[in-house]
């Protein structure tokens, strides 16, 4: 057995059903500290469900999930611990529209972590500089472009100093000219050694930053390989078909 602490995320034989619909079928995967997994697959294959299970936004019926040594066991304590290790970025940003950019960032730090307000503010300023949004600090989400909103969302998740960042199609709600600026921030994050699991169809990005590409179909992991192998010589017909569709679309 591998030492638990080398893996920031490890899932063993996770099964999940929505009603009678079996959406995760014996899913096992591990994310090593400092590495990146890109998750891809056709619509409805269970990518969002998988990533949402990792920080407890969805529950599952069978299997075990461990995040940074905390194993989900149905208690609020474990759930809180898992969430304190994970940061999540959503397709639709989900910024809080009634709060300024600064308050969006500091809210979690102040209330969930109990950090003093000025310390949180200082760190927030640093992160906004990192995603190049210092000039937008006191604006409201409604006043920002899609790309800016998603960068705020990334900064907000980073405020928790998470061991692992989870991204669920972070660029698919964006106009094409804004995809670039968000991917840029994510690549910079990857280079800094952040562990990440990213659901995306941006294959260029997957090639550049991922250590492992995981291909899912109908709730199963069908293929898992380093990007060079996955893109040049996919082993299964399903992956080949999927890659064909993706490259036609873009």
């Amino acid at each position: 057995m591998t030492a638990q602490k080398d893996f920031v995320v490890s899932m063993q034989a996770v099964n999940k059903w929505f009603g009678k619909h079996h959406v995760l079928r014996d899913v096992s995967l591990g994310l090593a500290a400092g590495e990146r997994i890109v998750l891809c697959g056709p619509s409805g294959s269970g990518k969002s469900t998988l990533i949402r299970c990792i920080n407890g936004l969805e529950g599952f019926q069978e299997g075990t999930l461990t995040v940074c040594g905390a194993t989900l066991d149905g208690t609020q304590e474990r759930l809180a611990e898992v969430r304190s290790h994970t940061g999540m970025v959503f397709q639709n940003f989900n910024l809080f529209p009634h709060l300024s950019v600064m308050d969006n960032l500091t809210l979690g730090a102040i209330y969930a972590r109990g950090e003093p307000e000025d310390a949180a503010t200082e760190r927030a300023k640093g992160l906004l500089e990192r995603v190049q949004l210092t000039s937008q600090t006191w604006k409201y989400p409604g006043q920002l472009s899609g790309g800016q909103r998603q960068r705020v969302a990334i900064a907000r998740a980073l405020m928790l100093e998470p061991e692992v960042m989870l991204f669920d199609e972070p660029t698919s709600a964006l106009d094409p000219e804004m995809v670039h600026e968000v991917l840029g921030v994510m690549e910079e994050l990857a280079q800094s050694g952040q562990s990440m699991i990213v659901v995306t169809h941006e294959m260029g990005f997957a090639r550049r930053v991922s250590d492992l590409v995981v291909f899912m179909d109908q709730g199963e992991i069908v293929e898992a390989a380093p990007p060079e192998t996955f893109f040049s010589a996919p082993a299964t017909d399903r992956a080949r078909g999927f890659l064909g569709q993706i490259s036609h679309a873009t």
């Binding site: 994970t86 959503f90 989900n94 809210l107 969930a112």
Partner: protein
């Protein structure tokens, strides 16, 4: 080669100028709105005639033939018009009910407090938290002034409380107690725990299925028959609790509408940040849901104000009850219409004031909504 097309377009134009005379302006609008067709003209003329006739009659009765001063009501007896003297004579009973005459300045102070803070609230001069703290102080001051027993004010029992101060107290208590309960019921209705969900749904649906009058009769008259004596609180308090629950059951549905209008992503994002249930509610969900529901809540708030009149049936003298009592005087008993018109005017002014304020909040919401599109 192809033939030249028969279609054409002329290049060029003219400098911008005003529209032809008579197509805009006051007369044009008047014509378009009221006299565009023969039928519209007839309707306009008939309605205008009826309005003028009614207003003339009202003017003759309410002002031209009216009596403003009539000791003992004598001068009113052969007058053709309104007898406003009844209000000059009885306004203190109407406004303060059976409250001891010497102490009625306390009631006056309460009315002044409510009107002043109400107007200041509507001007949006102060932060929301400041406005709420202000209302809390006004509410406590209302009880203190009615009850007395401090600062050298003689104690007055609740059976003597009455008039507009009592109306304000009932209304304030209903909203102050009812809104938090409404929020709890609305949250309970979405709870993961079946027991809490059932309790909330049952409360909301049962109370909404019963007329207010029945709720009040039950709380004020029936309940004490079953309660042990040491649990028996004042009739006013019991009726007030009935009002609060009734208000909360309706307002809970409005709050639920606001909760449903929020995208799921808002709570999920808050969960992902590690916020606990109550932190999520307080910081993310309720501020947004309430901002959405407040304009609609004003319907319930205004209704709560009007529902205070039900207290007169329980033998508690709100403004309406006090007016009814004042008009028992044999000298003035014939001038009930004038007395009730006074009460009508009071309610109309206060309710339409609240209604206007609610609408201004709605417009502010709409403006903000345009700016913060999701």
């Amino acid at each position: 080669m192809t033939e030249a097309p028969a279609s054409y377009a002329t290049i060029g134009g003219a400098p911008a100028r005003l529209p032809p005379l008579g197509s805009t302006g006051f007369l044009a609008r008047l014509h378009k709105r009221y006299f565009a067709t023969p039928l519209m003209s007839i309707v306009t003329i008939v309605l205008a005639a009826i309005t003028v006739w009614a207003l003339a009659g009202l003017f003759r009765w309410a002002i031209w033939d009216a009596v403003w001063y009539a000791p003992e009501g004598a001068a009113c007896r052969d007058a053709a018009g309104a007898c406003w003297a009844v209000i000059a004579e009885k306004y203190r009973v109407m406004l303060f009910g059976a409250f001891p005459y010497q102490e009625q300045w306390r009631g006056g102070a309460i009315i002044a407090l409510w009107l002043v803070w109400g107007v200041l609230t509507a001007t949006n001069l102060f932060a929301v938290s400041l406005r709420l703290i202000g209302w809390l102080i006004v509410f406590i001051a209302t009880i203190a002034l009615l009850q007395g027993g401090i600062f050298g004010m003689p104690h007055v029992g609740t059976d003597l409380w009455g008039g507009l101060p009592l109306t304000f107290l009932i209304f304030g208590g209903t909203v102050a107690g009812g809104l938090p309960l409404a929020i709890l019921l609305a949250l309970g209705r979405r709870s993961q725990l079946p027991a809490i969900r059932f309790l909330s749904v049952a409360t909301i649906e049962c109370v909404r299925g019963i007329p207010l009058l029945v709720v009040l009769f039950f709380a004020a008259l029936i309940l004490p028959l079953f309660l042990p004596d040491q649990l028996n609180v004042d009739k006013l308090v019991r009726a007030e609790i009935g009002m609060i629950i009734f208000f909360a059951a309706y307002a809970a549905e409005v709050v639920r509408g606001g909760l449903q209008a929020l995208p799921d992503g808002q709570e999920e994002a808050a969960k992902a940040l590690g916020l606990s249930y109550w932190q999520r509610m307080r910081k993310i969900v309720l501020p947004q849901a309430l901002a959405i529901s407040i304009p609609a809540l004003f319907n319930d708030i205004i209704r709560a104000f009007k529902n205070t009149t039900f207290f007169s049936i329980l033998g508690l003298f709100d403004v309406l009850g006090a007016t009814k009592a004042a008009l028992q005087d044999p000298n003035w008993v014939r001038y009930g219409l004038e007395g009730y018109l006074f009460v009508f005017l009071l309610y109309f002014l206060i309710c339409s004031g609240m209604s206007l304020y609610g609408r201004s909040l709605e417009q502010a919401n709409a403006r903000r909504g345009r700016k913060v599109e999701r």
